[in-house]
């Protein structure tokens, strides 16, 4: 088990599951090589793979793999209705991790799966959990990036919600003060600094107008903490075919 294997297993575990082309980008290898690695993981009983939907096969960790990684997650394959979303979030993570600032600042990604695990199986029905968090360690002015010390919430928006619902989610994220899994009384304590300095929305073309309007509805100080960008190339499920790997490969090169 090489360091690359461990990194790949952890990545697949954190993201619920990962498609082979994205795994290849993450590992910094070609797709056939990634397939061979995944095959080895299967033989070791650490992972399972199957063609769950359009595009490349998915790889996810088995109970043995999760145990080996020391992660307290449920060993379940990625849910079919969430495949597109999971791929989009993984693409966002890969794109962010490929930037120079990310590596220079030693930032790290905290996945939705980890956040939900902190909340246990009793995730409140009405609570919104972001698709991920990016933590930028260090003190402002003393780190590689000026936004050091911030924590960003990441939201990948593929489908269009209502403006009201989107705005409510934005407010919920931006006004939260406690960590996920904290006591209910600490989730939003007036007077404490917000947990998320900003929320980063990565939108599909269909969802983008709604998200923009929701940000406009917030107005002023809160809206200023909402960043909206388009999803990176290769984030779509249908794009996981052969023609969609170009941008991903670029990101992968940057990551390696």
């Amino acid at each position: 088990m090489t360091e690359r294997d461990i990194s790949g297993l952890l990545f697949a575990a954190e993201m619920y599951g990962v498609q082979l082309d994205q795994l290849a980008i993450r590992l910094g290898v070609s797709e056939p090589r990634a397939r061979a690695i995944a095959q080895r993981w299967r033989q070791q009983g650490h992972a399972e793979s199957a063609r769950l939907g359009p595009g490349r096969p998915w790889v996810w960790l088995t109970r043995a793999g999760l145990t080996a990684c020391g992660l307290p997650y449920q060993p379940i394959p990625p849910a079919l209705p969430r495949l597109a979303h999971l791929r989009a979030v993984t693409a966002v993570r890969l794109a962010l991790e490929a930037t120079s600032g990310y590596a220079a600042a030693s930032a790290h990604w905290r996945s939705e799966r980890r956040l939900r695990a902190r909340m246990g199986s009793r995730v409140p029905l009405r609570e919104h959990v972001p698709d991920g968090e990016v933590h930028w360690p260090g003190e402002p002015g003393q780190a590689a990036v000026p936004w050091a010390g911030e924590c960003w919430a990441i939201e990948a928006e593929l489908t269009r919600k209502t403006v009201r619902r989107t705005a409510a989610i934005m407010i919920e994220i931006l006004t939260r003060t406690g960590d996920y899994g904290c006591p209910a009384a600490e989730a939003r304590v007036p007077g404490r600094p917000p947990r998320h300095a900003r929320v980063l929305y990565l939108c599909s073309p269909a969802a983008r107008p709604t998200v923009l309007r929701a940000r406009d509805a917030l107005g002023g100080a809160l809206a200023a903490r909402v960043e909206i960008r388009g999803l990176p190339p290769g984030a779509g499920l249908a794009a996981s075919g052969a023609g969609a790997t170009a941008a991903g490969t670029t990101a992968g090169r940057a990551a390696t």
Binding site: L96, G120, P140, A167, P183, V189, P190, G220, L222
Partner: protein, 682 residues
Amino acid sequence: MIGRYLGFLALRGVIRLLARLIKVAACVGAIVMAAPVTLVGAYAAALAWVLGWPPRQLYRAAACCLPMLAAWLAAMAVAGDPWQRLAAAPYLAWLAMWHDIAAGAWPLAAVTIAPVAIPLGLVAGGLGWSWRIYSMETGSGGLSPSAPAAFDQRQWRHQVRAARARIAAPGAVPLVLRNGNVVAGATIRSVRHPALPLAAIPYPRLRSHQVVIGTTGTGKTTLLLRLWAGFMTRGLQLHAAGAGRRPLLVVLDCKGGADSRRVAERARRVLRGAGAAATAIWPDEASLSLWALPPRQLTTTLVDMIEHGTGAAAYYADVMEEIVRLAVDAPCGPPASAADFLARLDAGWLSMAYAAAADGGDVALLRSASRHVGDIALRFRTLLRRLGGGLDGPGGFGDADAWYCILEGTAEITVAEAQARALVDLLAWYATDGAAGGTGISGTAGAGGSGVGGTSAAGTGGRREILLAVDEFSAVSRRLPIWQLYERARSLGLAVQVSAQSWQGLAADEDERYRVATTADGGIWLLRTPHPEPVAALAGSRRVVDTARRLLGVPLWAHEGLSRAEGTPVVDAELIRALGVGQAAYIYRGGVTYIQVKRLVAAPAELASPVAADHAGVRPASQVASPGVADRSAAADRSAAAGRSAAGGGPGQAPAHPGGAQRPGLADVSALLDEAFGKEPP
């Protein structure tokens, strides 16, 4: 013979007249001679009459004057006067006073006699006032038959006026006295209780069961808020001193609606002032996890939350209980959420779960009852949907110092009953095992729950001093066995405070009402209510002297009559019916104290935050009104409003920084985002 008899009668009349004149002259002479004492006494009695003071107040004032007398004597001793002169000092002062008066030195005369005259006058006034009260209470005083009743009514008005003046004086009514007693307000009148200016309740009584009865608009909420704040303040004081466990207040407001939410917000502000670190408002802002209950208790609670009949329906109730038990006690562990539980109420799931079980009994039971599983699942799906997400976690009672739980008892009685049942079961479990076993928040089980800023019981692992206040109890009294909780609450370290609008609203039947009221060993608070007799009767009666006098003619009494002792109720039901807003009768151990409740002035509501602070999410501590879980919608509104004001425009205006350009106070991340996701179109 007749002439001699008439002469004797005339002589007797003259002698009687002379005796009376001598008596009057002697009295007038004594009054004049003791003029300073007489003046002070008359003034003191008049003051006591106007202010409705009890005689004890004058005696206490006289006692307070004794240091002045001692200082006066000490000054004379220091001046070298022999002890004989000191013993005769009052007499000498009296003589000196008259000499000064004769000389026209009135101020000097007053100063000379004051050290003696003031204490004596106060005592004399107290004795005179005491005699007046006694004669009116026994019916032996007054000129007319209606004089005692009129005197009592007048005194009540005077006492109310004095009590209102007392609570209006700034700083006159603290929340907690130095001895730790919790002050409810100013005393109007007391019967068989000490006549003190402030009505203070020892903290242990707040840790006992109490009952509060009062109709709408009588100040019940004000009283309850004061009691809760007192409980919290004193409990935290004791906890800080290491003499007690941290207090936990749980309020079940069974009325619901907008009014309950207003009260909840007010309670939060008041409790914040009382020292509560966090007040959670359930289910609007915080949630609890029903699934944190141990499996056996969870099964019982779930089954009890479902309405089921008796007779033939008992069979289905038994089937339901067994199915629920199988779902909860499944080999893979108890359910973690409502969705998890509902997923288990499936014959296929249960068969799979118990397929490998060594006990064949469960499998056989499942086989025979499998055709009912779908119906049971339907009932629970409906129930859990109506209950909402408030019981689906995460969260536990250890997460806050106070929980204000709003149950929609007016709009949805059955839902409120089920919620009340679940909450009480959760609290009872928390009171017994929960503090040691976690509050149900994942990741904290076994640590006693997670605390609020390190202030909850989690850190100590100890249990909490719990006060469960059930407001508008009638809404849930059908399904909530509060008297059962009452009877076992002491061992749980749990006090129960039940409030209702009337005696009838206290419980479903008379037997249960009496069980609730008679076990209220912390006392009963009675506000204005149209039917106070059952509660008033619990205070018992007292022996008083009643006098029947001969009527000379309307409306005058003669001086002849008969007196006899008889029992009269301690609590005057008519007085209860006529209580004003903010007035309450506290009944405890056969006595009653009528109180003018002091309203607690809460901290002001949260204000809109300054722009510069809010855009970074930080507000000045002075503006932090509530530490608990912020109302999502309210917080959203506030934040949005603050945000709009920060942008300098209204809701319809465009944001000041569209497209993620440079933001005030936030570093520009455009370069990073451009690198990761490409440049934004203009």
